[in-house]
Amino acid sequence: ESDSSSGTSKSISVLTPYLGNAATKDVIDKFKAEGKKRGWDVNVTDTAGDFNKLNSAFQDAVAQKPAAIVLGSGDPTQISLGLKSAKAAGIPVFAIDAAPADGITANVTSDNADLGKKSAEEMVKLLGGKGSIVMLTHDPHPGVKARTEAAKKVFDKAGIKIIASKHVNVPGPVEDARNSVQDLLTSDAGKFTGIWGGWDEPALGATQALLAANVSNVQVVGVDGQDFAIAEIDKGGPFKATIKQDWSAIAAKTADLIAAYLKDKETPDPQEVEIPGVLYEGKQ
């Protein structure tokens, strides 16, 4: 191969189904920066939510014999075929924000259960330990599902009642969440005082519905810590808190693991690295 002669330039393929998602895009951009620092040639391929194509993308990547493949946030149970072809070609696969699976050398992630738990605990705190809430969810996404399950446990334990769990449609989650919450404000006016968003976009939609309806006694919590969420929280409105995923740390850790592996084929131990989330509740 041409790049082995230079010795320094390694090619890394990043494959993701979710580049349209701001958080995924953020961590991949950060990883690209980390790669550049190390002199790698990082290419990104997105399949826009299509897992059949994601498997194809693995095959296409394997054909180009990169030094390593990075899976950017995607359910590995649906890409066993792609993982197999990488394994067969001896190319290591590192995952960011995915899950451990056969064929994945290491997975560096925010602990989604931890994100769910922390955000729910913040919600409970905001509600003073009692009340009822609405959850905005998206079970087809495994990360969001894990958060939802962990959050539910917290709410159950705290005796917070979940009066509705709304599935938010993607694309268009802000608008969809906004409409759903608007309807809930009609059908269940005054029956809930908190809205938990499985990620920041539905939380934003919920916030807008509350503002438009002049409802001030309902608190919103999101997860992810995206820029717009931070900005919204800083305004001091209903959007009270989010759990920031530490994308910089995740990207850096992934790059470190890859570098170590490329240097002397060192398989990371443990294979599952979880970086904790950080609560954000506005400028102090």
């Binding site: 349209g20 694309p171 268009g172 409409n179 309807d183 934003l204 807008q208 820029d227 717009f228 900005a231």
Partner: protein, 336 residues
């Protein structure tokens, strides 16, 4: 001489056709059929009204529904124009996203509201000219041409927004999407104005006649001296402008622009027009029908939400109810 059809009954009294009664009865039946979809719509309202009268029938909820469908109604109104011509435009969704992103980016960069909106609209006009050119002048099928531009516009939106949400838009802009005039949200007012304009243009002007002629039989239209290609181009341009207005209003409403915020409107806008097409005898797209279609979709979602139907079940029910609502328009109709 020999008046043959139902409507003549009143118009040619001297001819005394043999079966006046049968004709009148079947005219009534035809009108009933034509309004089948409307009955379906009414039935929906009645059912939800009975199940949750205290919520569903409140004025506040009525305005909520209007607000929820406003942006979609803008897109669907102008999708109607393209569908009158016999085509459809799959690119409206991503175009709305693109224009939203472009406008938001400019605003974010500090441009005043009016020029930013104008540039956004200009992007829409350019997109519409591209679509219209490909379909009317190059001769591509509308499906493949607008599918291609849909893909391209979506890519552009992602590129410009760098894949992420643009937020922090000026208050004066956000007002377009969030302020109210009395109980009525500005997007609703915009939608009403747009729909009224489209109604006027399609039913009262020569441009509208030409579009209907074109959609009914392009060859015959050409023969009557209609400039078929130009007329079709205009339809696509108007449709794109509608999508752009919707994209701008949507990003004002959400106080942010997301590169795929408008995408879901593609299928729903076409669905609304199709629902409305069942309401007229000729089966052609028409603005009033489209509005009923929008109404059905909006009421359905709101009503099911009021009933706390599980979201997945809600999806199944939506499909089933649409079928039933449309099937009403086919009562007693013989084979096609």
């Amino acid at each position: 001489m020999t008046p043959t059809s139902m409507e003549t009954v009143t118009e040619a009294p001297e001819g005394a056709p043999p079966s006046t009664y049968a004709m009148r009865r079947s005219a009534a039946l035809a009108r009933l059929r034509a309004s089948g979809t409307l009955i379906g719509f009414a039935a929906l309202i009645v059912v939800f009204g009975i199940l949750r009268p205290e919520l569903f029938l409140k004025t506040g909820n009525f305005f909520n529904i209007l607000e929820q469908v406003a942006v979609l109604a803008i897109v669907a109104s102008l999708q109607t124009v393209v569908m009158i011509v016999g085509d459809f435009d799959l690119s409206v969704g991503t175009l709305a996203s693109l224009v939203g992103v472009v406008t938001a980016t400019l605003l974010h960069g500090g441009m005043p509201v009016i020029p930013a909106i104008l540039i956004g609209l200009a992007v829409g006009v350019a997109a519409g000219v591209l679509n219209g050119f490909l379909v009317a002048y190059v001769g591509l099928s509308a499906f493949i041409a607008t599918l291609a531009t849909m893909t391209a516009f979506g890519g552009l939106a992602l590129l410009i927004a760098n894949g992420t949400t643009i937020f922090g838009l000026p208050e004066s802009f956000v007002a377009i999407g969030q302020d109210k005039l009395g109980p009525i949200a500005i997007p609703v007012i915009i939608a009403v104005v747009v729909a009224a304009l489209v109604w006027f243009i399609t039913t009262k002007t020569t441009a509208g006649r030409r579009w209907y002629a074109l959609g009914g039989n392009a060859e015959a239209a050409r023969l009557s001296g209609v400039r078929v290609r130009r007329s079709r181009l205009y339809a696509f341009v108007l449709c794109a402008v509608g999508a752009s207005v919707a994209g701008i209003v949507l990003s004002a409403r959400l106080a942010s622009a997301h590169p795929s915020a408008g995408d879901p409107m593609m299928l729903t806008s076409i669905a609304a027009v199709f629902l409305g097409m069942t309401m007229v005898r000729t089966g052609q797209a028409n603005l009033l029908g489209t509005l009923v279609g929008i109404g059905i979709l909006g009421v359905l979602q709101n009503g099911l939400n009021m009933l706390h139907v599980n979201d997945y079940v809600q999806q199944v029910l939506t499909g089933a109810i649409i079928v039933v609502a449309v099937a009403m328009s086919r009562i007693g109709k013989s084979r096609t």
